[in-house]
């Protein structure tokens, strides 16, 4: 990660700048004391994690469904989110059953689980990838690929930062 090779507009550099800014902000708000209670450290951890996710999603600029979903998740308070997702999930289940029925003919598809062992894993993948409930398999795989790429970048950068500052 040296200055010459770094492309200023790459995902990695965008994420790095944002994340560092967020970290400085967090540290400025509550400087870490030598003896902080676990609760404080936990809160701090949550803030840092949210900052990391947000900065990653921002760097992707809402071009992707998962980034939009992450930003939305981190912005709206949980009660409003719960109501919205409830409506969304029920309508989605309906659409999913109709499409599968049309393709599979007489196969009856239940709302909660798709036919075959693939369905269970699909549900898991949908849960993992933010915003994954709203997509069919094709787009879901696309999103997953991009999400994996961004996560690896995020992990790389955070690891560098952590190693760097743990030496001090």
């Amino acid at each position: 990660m040296d200055l010459h090779n770094l492309n200023p507009s790459s995902l990695k550099s965008r994420f790095t700048t944002r994340f560092l800014r967020a970290l400085t902000e967090i540290n400025a708000r509550k400087p870490i004391a030598s003896s902080s209670s676990p609760r404080e450290i936990f809160q701090r951890y949550r803030r840092i994690k949210d900052a990391a996710d947000t900065s990653m999603a921002y760097s992707v600029r809402s071009r992707r469904t998962w980034s939009k979903a992450t930003l939305w998740r981190l912005r709206t308070p949980s009660h409003r989110r719960r109501l919205a997702s409830f409506g969304r999930r029920s309508s989605l289940n309906k659409t999913r059953t109709t499409t599968t029925a049309s393709h599979r003919g007489a196969v009856v598809v239940q709302i909660t689980s798709r036919g075959g062992g693939l369905g269970v894993q699909l549900e898991e993948l949908r849960e993992l990838v933010p915003g994954g409930e709203a997509m069919d398999l094709c787009n879901l795989l696309d999103e997953t690929a991009h999400y994996i790429k961004c996560l690896t970048t995020q992990v790389q950068v955070m690891r560098t930062i952590a190693n760097l500052y743990s030496l001090e």
């Binding site: 040296d2 970290l23 870490i32 936990f42 795989l141 994996i148 690896t152 952590a162 760097l164 001090e168």
Partner: protein, 550 residues
């Protein structure tokens, strides 16, 4: 009739030329060599009663009216969009020809022709006339004439724009061969919504076009639903292949289910790594500002090696730094606060980590254990192994929310200078918040299982129930779901020993730690064997080699 054809050809010549020029500008990048074209005309000139010739003759008789980009039209109907007047005509012709190209040899030419003509209801009269002309020239001779006419006009056009046709010619030759190989056994009736895929070339283009072209193979259903389904399946498999490249270590896995499993595991591990790293950052006390220039100045790998000297590791450790480098970099597969190797030395150095660090419950599912040194003697700080990393709290506990995992090492020393050697170790492995029990395995020792239980280990009640009379002796034991197991053994086998969850993937995720004895002095064999376990299991997602070392 036969006269009508060349006249029609003549009349349509100009427009065809113009059209072709426009089209070829659009296709400018796909030039082929001349030999394809000559091959094509050679093929056309073989006017035997062979069906191949027939097919091409048909195509040419059609194509005579349209030039050489017959089959390319089939594939790229989009190019006709800018020629709206003839669009329907081309499409109609395209459909006709599509039906010709894969037609079986079983039915005679006339049958096919009639079929084709009966379908081209949407064709404009000029085309229908050509078709009618073609149909009247059913016998081989007239076809030949038609084809020769086509060839003549074809060659005329060849003179005019030689290079442009190569593309199409190549398409055509390929497709003619392809159609030879896969002949449809039946011609279905749904012509209007006919999809035909060129499986070779245009899979990349199909995304751009409005029409998705699918070629039906022998014996496959050709109604629109199954074709659409096939297209969808191909897209999905394409994406799965891409994901296979992205996720490390799944080259050998075939099948969607296995791949999905791998993908899910990988995404989970990445998310846990993020959480672990943010936890680490939360505890880090930055002496400098978070400044991006500092990042640029320092580099990752050397920073890990510089970690060792300040930590005061014995010189032997330097030799193993290539191995140990793995740990700080790669270890965080689990994201659960399990650290091993050097990082724990790092941690031990910062002995101020008495303040427990809490890790939230949601993310941390499986961590079997970590150690908590109760009696750390300063001299033995390095001898005593890699322990004591984080104290994590149970959810709902008073202090903080989060997981609590704790493993106590009670070291009873036999002798002062051999701190670990021949000491009795009693450890308790805790398995919390997990949906399954974990079999954990300790290299190098057989231990006695003195107690087990569910839920939290309570210091007061737990040890009281220990079975110290005749405990079972093993080197692998299962920790019950949401519970704990207490083991004891005599640490008489010097070295660094691997202790891990025996489920392969969990090892890769970090459900492991090391109990080392005499870290400094006995790094040789055991360490190497353990470290090679490390190398396999710590590097993310290559946790398959672990069994070789057990």
């Amino acid at each position: 009739m036969n006269r009508a054809l060349p006249e029609m050809l003549q009349s349509s010549d100009m427009t065809v030329l113009e059209r072709q020029r426009a089209r070829l500008k659009w296709q400018a990048e796909q030039f082929q060599q001349q030999n394809y074209f000559s091959e094509l005309s050679g093929v056309f000139s073989s006017q035997t009663g062979h069906v191949q010739g027939f097919q091409q003759g048909c195509l040419m008789s059609r194509g005579g009216a349209r030039g050489d980009s017959v089959l390319s039209d089939m594939a790229m109907t989009r190019q006709l969009k800018h020629e709206p007047g003839l669009e329907t005509a081309w499409q109609g012709l395209g459909k006709v020809d599509m039906e010709f190209a894969p037609c079986g040899y079983g039915s005679g030419p006339s049958f096919d022709m009639n079929h084709a003509i009966s379908r081209t209801s949407s064709c404009p009269p000029a085309v229908a006339a050509a078709a009618a002309v073609g149909s009247k020239a059913v016998k081989g001779n007239s076809l030949k004439m038609g084809s020769t006419v086509g060839r003549v006009s074809f060659k005329k056009r060849k003179v005019e724009k030689s290079q442009n046709t190569e593309v199409v010619a190549e398409d055509e030759s390929k497709r003619i061969k392809a159609s030879e190989e896969e002949r449809e056994s039946k011609i279905t009736g749904s012509s209007t919504h006919r999809n035909s895929t060129d499986k070779k070339e245009n899979s990349g283009d199909t995304s751009k076009l409005d029409y998705i072209h699918v070629r039906a193979r022998r014996g496959q259903a050709t109604d629109s639903h199954s074709l659409a389904e096939r297209v969808r399946r191909e897209k999905i498999s394409e994406r799965m292949k891409y994901l296979q490249d992205l996720v490390p270590g799944c080259n050998k896995i075939t099948g969607k289910a296995g791949m999905l499993d791998e993908i899910i595991n990988y995404v989970q591990s990445l998310q846990r790594q993020v959480e672990f790293l943010s936890m680490k950052l939360a505890t880090v006390n930055p002496s400098l500002d978070f400044n991006i220039e500092n990042l640029y100045v320092k580099e990752v790998l050397p920073s890990c090696t510089t970690n060792f000297p300040p930590v005061g590791m014995a010189p032997e450790m330097e030799n193993h730094s290539p191995y140990l480098q793995f740990n700080p970099i790669q270890q965080v597969v689990s994201g659960c606060g399990m650290e091993m190797g050097t990082n724990s030395c790092d941690m031990a150095l910062r002995r101020t980590i008495s303040a427990p660090v809490s890790i939230p419950e949601a993310s941390f599912l499986d961590t079997s254990c970590f150690t908590d040194m109760q009696q750390i003697q300063p001299s033995a700080a390095w001898d005593v192994e890699l322990q004591n990393l984080y104290n994590v709290e149970f959810p709902g506990s008073i202090e903080a929310s989060g997981l609590k995992m704790e493993m106590e090492m009670e070291m009873h020393q036999a002798k002062q200078d051999c701190f670990q050697l021949n000491g009795v170790v009693s450890t308790k492995d805790v398995n919390l918040l997990i949906v399954e029990s974990h079999p954990f395995h300790l290299h190098g020792y057989n231990f006695f299982v003195v107690g087990t239980g569910i839920r939290n280990f309570k210091q007061a009640k737990g040890p009281a129930k220990y079975n110290l009379v005749d405990p079972p002796k093993r080197n692998m034991d299962g920790i019950p779901t949401g519970g704990w197991t207490a083991i004891r053994f005599r640490a008489d086998n010097p070295g660094v020993w691997f202790k891990h969850c025996h489920l392969e993937v969990h090892t890769g995720w970090g459900l492991k730690n090391i109990c080392g004895r005499e870290w400094r002095r006995t790094q040789s064999i055991h360490f190497a064997s353990n470290v090679s376990c490390f190398l396999y299991s710590v590097a993310p997602y290559t946790a398959k080699g672990i069994h070789g070392f057990l």
